[in-house]
Subunit: 503 residues, 2 copies
């Protein structure tokens, strides 16, 4: 009991320091003057170290081990807290402070060199730092202490990395799912490519002022149920969502004056993440349980609101008139159907973040395939760009003309391997629970009513409620009664786009 | 040497934590969602405690005492660091942790109750918390450990409080200065009251959008020499300037759409503070010397830019055309002379923060007189409102009709006594150094050139350079060769307003 109190006290201390760190990072990405960036980095590094040291104190470790041994005597919430901390402890246990410092230095260095390399569109600048990150990831994987249960399913380094981000999901699970996705998505994309369907795109590049896009954003966030009393919206170089603390969830986006549709769907996506964070059971916060949601779960929610809901006819019908009222000049000659079609246009392209709903999965699958080879040591950093380009040609029929739009496009490899697959897993999850939701709710009627509250409530009760306490496999089974599969997602895509492209 | 290194290491730690605290406070005052305020307060309190504990560690105290004993062996900058820390140590030395906690609790409570009281315009709500603050201030004064030199000049509790904010300035110094100010300002105000001069004010309440005021603000800040690479501008409920760290000085203001002139001069004032912080010698930062500038010095700089420079004909001539270009509709029938006169209109009023350059001093003097009586125990909290109202009637010829526009208007008494006099001392200082500046520079020619760089350079070389190393008395003597006096300020006022009001 005393050990539990002690652990919670330290968790509280850590959560306050983390709040400060996240506030400083938010400040840096939104308003901080350039000249102060370096000093601010120092402050952030110091506080991050302080946060790290809270849980890496021997007394805390002692408490975690003591409590883990007695976890069956704890109530459910305390048990989850202890299990999560025990899991974290095992992942980090064999990494010395010096090694942790070196890993973090590698990542910082990789980020700096990647930025330069991308700016210059020159992969050679990034090659060596990337190699250091890869070796670091292999080390992290190999040094992980595994429970007997973990050891039974995590077969190699890449499994051990993936498990950090979407725990319990292994290549044995993903390989057949992703193979099915690759095959059926490529087939669907090829059909679409041959379709004669004409979709208007001329209005998408019309000028929309930042002021107007801000108005649209506020409307969309309200419609979606964002709680402005417990969060804010701001702008930054790259859009993101961050939970600073229990009652402080922040969204940022970047407005491009010649690309208003992109900001609409970025906002739906980030607000999806935010709703998940804002509407988690308050007990999670009381028990310091907020590391349980995996990235795959989080991505399932953001992409549910962005795509399944946000790119549906019903949602477009709901938001189109309001958007038109804000920018009448831009949409006066655009019908609701034309807006809907433009929001769902499929164009195989080079850049993942700009990909449509259909081809997006291919961008993820090819990264997954490359990551497996890289971490297994079968693909060298020298051969990576060629392998990258080859897969783009093969899966998407497009070839990068330079490194910037090719292998250098994403920031993730400056720190993480094993993270990319979660982007596609999110789609598999949300298509499955959308099918369950449709059994409980009349989605069309709800959207027609203008208030999506019932959908959000269903998401709270089924998707959000236990997300921090269950593994992805347990969680999707709990929501849908079924094991994870790819068919729901692929059938959803095939039906929707067969209709749109008149295939 | 080892002790010096240790002290500096700890100063560095503290400065990083303070940077975080100030960033969190800035976040709270600008963007933080309401629902997160309480959590953020907890985080700020925790980090403030951490910052407090850095310098209140026995090893740090040991280092300070060791170094202070050997201060003559240190180079100048190290010596100032040690002296400043020794001074702080003496002020706090006899306050126990429990007492410090109680004092801070008193202040928090007083702030909360004052806010309620002001909202309700009911002094009775604030009376008891105010009494606790007064007792706390008396305790702080009495518990201060004094050096022999301090003891020789700080005669009573109020002297000891004032010295915290404008060190070395005592009632023996201020009484004759403020008596002279009171007499000559009241005389000048009475003459102005009888003047037949008509000054146009109709255009002052014309609507100016926040967007336009933001544009004016950016222009003014650039004109004044604010370094946007090392600082930002934002909006908050109340305007203020804060140095977050060496390269991060932030200004905020509040825009009122029917009161554009007020935001112009708030910006000049806050930018004055900011320039002082941005242009201090970089060695100050290296040696952690930034507690030396007294509030009186700081206020002298902000009011120099706001009033002496900003309300001069030359400065109005410089900025008027640019402002008119931004808001042509508002100023199309307003001449430059009318703008100048409106910026200098004198109206005895109830609210200090809205007071003109002439009567402002009277607001300060009457607070100074009341504070002396209160801290000496000769004026009770029961009798304070009546005493307040009587002085307003006597000095300014106006009577508050309620507590909100009377004794409850300022936030200062929720924490500090001895701070108010610095507002008037700033005027005495800057009028003195303006007279010295005029011997070196042709102000009219500089303003006519459109670039005030030479004025800023003079300020750096004479006013900013040693502000962190000298006491106010040494500092004003160093700049002007003279001891502090009131005549420069009063003569400046008399000349300027005799001309404006054709007295």
């Amino acid at each position: 009991m005393q050990q539990l109190e002690y652990l919670k006290e330290q968790m509280k201390r850590k959560s306050m320091i983390d709040d400060a760190v996240r506030t400083l990072l938010f400040d840096q990405s939104t308003v901080c003057p350039k000249g102060a960036m370096e000093d601010k980095n120092e402050t952030i590094a110091y506080l991050s170290e302080l946060s790290f040291s809270v849980l890496h104190d021997s007394k805390v470790t002692e408490a975690i081990l003591y409590l883990y041994d007695r976890k069956d005597e704890l109530d459910e919430w305390d048990r989850v807290l202890v299990e999560q901390q025990y899991r974290r402890y095992l992942i980090e246990k064999n990494i010395t402070t010096e090694e942790a410092y070196e890993l973090s230095l590698n990542e910082t260095n990789a980020f700096v060199e990647w930025s330069k390399a991308k700016e210059a569109s020159d992969y050679s600048i990034f090659k060596e730092p990337l190699l250091a990150v890869i070796k670091g990831c292999q080390k992290k994987a190999q040094k992980r202490e595994l429970t007997k249960e973990d050891a039974a399913i995590l077969k190699d380094d890449y499994d051990r990395l993936m498990d950090i981000y979407d725990r319990g999901m292994t290549q044995a699970d993903l390989d057949p799912l992703f193979d099915e996705c690759r095959e059926r998505i490529i087939a669907l994309t090829n059909k679409i490519r041959q379709s004669k369907k004409q979709i208007r795109t001329d209005f998408l590049s019309r000028h929309v002022s930042i002021e107007k896009q801000r108005e649209i954003t506020e409307y969309l966030m309200k419609l979606q149920g964002f709680d402005f009393n417990r969060g804010i919206f701001s702008t930054s170089e790259h859009g993101y969502t961050e939970r600073l603390s229990a009652n402080d969830v922040r969204i940022t986006t970047h407005f491009y004056e010649d690309c208003f549709m992109s900001s609409i769907y970025t906002v739906l996506h980030e607000t999806g993440h935010a709703i998940f964070d804002q509407r988690q059971p308050s007990k999670n916060n009381d028990y310091f349980i907020f590391e349980g949601k995996t990235l795959g779960m989080h991505e399932s929610v953001s992409r549910f609101y962005e795509n399944i809901l946000g790119r549906s006819r019903g949602y477009v019908h709901l938001m189109y008139p309001a958007i038109k009222e804000i920018i009448p000049d831009v949409l006066n000659d655009v019908s609701e159907e034309e807006f809907y079609l433009a929001a769902n246009i499929v164009t195989p392209s080079l850049i993942r973040t700009e990909a449509d709903e259909v081809t997006y999965g291919l961008h993820v699958i090819l990264r997954y395939e490359l990551e497996k080879e890289i971490i297994a040591g079968r693909l060298s950093v020298d051969d990576l760009p060629a392998a990258w380009n080859k897969k783009y040609e093969e899966y998407l029929g497009v070839s990068p003309s330079n490194d910037r739009e090719g292998v250098l496009q994403d920031v993730h490899w400056t720190s993480d391997f094993g993270y990319f697959p979660t982007y596609l897993m999110g789609n598999l999850y949300n298509a499955m629970y959308f099918n369950t939701m449709k059994q409980d709710l009349d989605i069309d009627a709800i959207l027609a009513s203008g208030d999506i509250g019932d959908i959000n409530k269903w998401m709270c009760d089924h998707v959000f409620e236990k997300a921090d306490r269950l593994s992805p496999k347990e969680w999707i089974k709990d929501i849908t009664g079924r094991n994870v599969c790819a068919d729901d997602f692929l059938t959803y895509l095939e039906n929707k786009y067969t209709e749109i492209y008149e295939l």
